[in-house]
Amino acid sequence: MNTTRRTFALGGAAAAVTAATAACSGSSAGDDGPVTLTWWATNSASTITRDLEILKPIVAGFTQQTGIEVEIEIAAWADYYNKVLGAISSGEGPDVMGVGTTWTQTLADTGAFLPFDEDRMTAIGGRDKFVPASLAAAGGDSEGGPSFLPLGNGVTNLWYNPAIFAAAGIAEPPRNWQDFLAVAQQLTVDTDGDGVIDQWGFGYPGGSAQELSHTIFAVGRQYDGEFFDADGNPTLDADGIVEAAKFLTDLMTVQEIMSTGDVEAVQVSDISQDFVNGRVAMMFAANPVPTFQDAGFTDYAAGYIPVLDPAVGDPIMTHIAGVNFGVFAETEHEQAALQFIQYMTDVEAQVALYQQLQSLPTNQEAYDSDEVEKTPTFLILADILANYADTFPLNSKTGQAETLVGDAMKQVFANAALSGPQSEDAIRGVLEQANTQLIAAG
């Protein structure tokens, strides 16, 4: 009967099981000995090993200044959400925890993180040092102070292959959807004449629920659709979301500028690989540069995700992505943790993070630093962050909404790949089911 029990334990005893898995972390220090902080950082470089190579020298500066040691544990994104959950349910976690920007409100509502009230905000250098949009995306306007502060930001933007563009006589990347479709159709070609298209104008990971949730958030905003209404009630099946979903799936089935095979691409790196191999000419991604560099690939340039012209909703191209971090409420080293957060959000560390990880600074002054090279890519990304990015909804159910709308969109893309263009009613049906589940989540 062991197997029966295993199933029961799988879902039912989630909290207990995750509690056990998380019990191995935590701060360590005697009252008299030197303080050692534990920091769960998230994977930002091409590999976890590379992350450690980059972060250790940055953190060494903090240890040199304060005598406080920092033990860094890099977490892969895939299982990180459940790991955070385990830490929260068990109370056994690191002193400082990095989290994805889209989880901000859901995790803040657990009460497992110390709010940055006025005193704590002053201790880390004040709220004015942050880029306002970055701080807002971390819940900066929350009553009683945010539970997280922005460590590094990113945006999802267009990446295109200038060599392919030049060969086709296209001078500039498109800025609106009409131009985007025209360019993508021009670049979707059978280059070797075997009757099979081997260069697609656009590539997209249609099997990645996470990417789909982020894209439908942004394009949904362009169609005036939002995940939650003004009262905070879920509206995953709003008209604007349905229209945006239809527009996106039509790129594959009606416009035929992306391969139906992309519905089996479950991560951005699958499409990045196609981009490197010349199979796709344009893609949307947040910082695929490390992947390009690892492959020795140089034919890439940044652009803007297209917007509707004329506009229907807001010209939002992306959510404000990246990493926020907070102090775990169970920490025994609050002051040391605050010192560490101050250090990591000051100009020096922010510049280093940008130089090493291409993470957009969240410190306002860092943008004026001479050490931040104002490359064309940097200027585009900074412009998107400042003008065309918005905070992923700060609602208690955002974490669940992200999962559910992503799963629903994955299903819509799969349906389109299997049976052709999807009607708005069919798409609405799938999104309605996701919305029902979100409401039932309580």
Binding site: M1, N2, T3, T4, R5, R6, T7, F8, A9, L10, G11, G12, A13, A14, A15, A16, V17, Y81, N82, L85, I88, S89, G91, T106, L107, D109, T110, G111, A112, G207, A209, S259, T260, G261, V263, E264, V266, S396, G399, Q400, T403, L404, G406, D407, K410, Q411, A414, A417, L418, Q433, T436, Q437, L438, A440, A441, G442
Partner: protein, 323 residues
Amino acid sequence: MTQLVDRTDRERRRREPPVIRRRPRNVLPYVLVLPAMIAELLIHIIPMLLGLYIAFLQLNQLSIRRWVNAPFVGFDNFVNGLNPSTAIGSQFFGTLGRTAVYTVIVLALSWVMGTAAAYFLNTNFRGRATLRTLYLLPYALPVFVSAIAFAFMFNQRDGVVNKLLVDDLHLLGDRPFWLIGGNAFIVLVLASVWTAWPFAFLLQLAALQTIPDEVYEASALDGAGRWRQFVAITLPMIRSSNVVMLLLMFLSTFNMFTVPYVLFGPSGPPEAQLVSPLIYQFSFGTWNFGLGGAVSAMLLVLLFAVSLVYIRLVLPKEGNGRA
């Protein structure tokens, strides 16, 4: 004189109440099972009881930190998850039915393959040991490795299956999708059978080796062919091992999580959705741990009932082990 003393001594002993000598209790068996009992408690029993408790709570992100004090909601989670007229309930029952069909198919195919392979490898021939080892290879591989290999093989664009069917043999015009839509169920079954059938093979082989050769020789003298021998001798004589094996395989197949999770990711195609990944989705996808707990509890009851009936009806009674 000596005899007198002896007699007196015997009489005295007879008069005295007999001394009951207690055997020192042998604690060794208890000591030996103690680690297993502790492990069983920690790994299965306590999480199971906690899971049952959680099924009666409204446990989500707001209450997860102090989950022991989460609001008690009685049977709300059971009503929500098991009412077929709701979206969640209909999804659960649809998935339950699909899982039952999947279990029957996987069990049937695994049993046939395992039994056939064991039957033919139970005879002496050159290369038998090599084949036996080869057949056990899928069992030696971690399940997730096999599932990853299947995901690669059935990839629509670059998979070897479509290359074979479309490019090499020209049996199909378009490259079909195998990991989404209805075909996903077929791939799920194939990958599951691949990982499950060596277990059937192993147990059947062990059972077959307990059948004396003389029985086959006697039946051969009576003119029985191999099929007749298989039906009239082999199957009845391995019945006791068969019923245990089928029960074990039923439970592990019904609860299958690894293969669909690795093949399709956290949210698989609806056509290949099984119960265990659905519970995972309820619990971790939507942070609705109460609902996940309630559905798990119902599944436990269901599987326990099925197992109980099976054991009562089919499992050989003591002393009746060999038919």
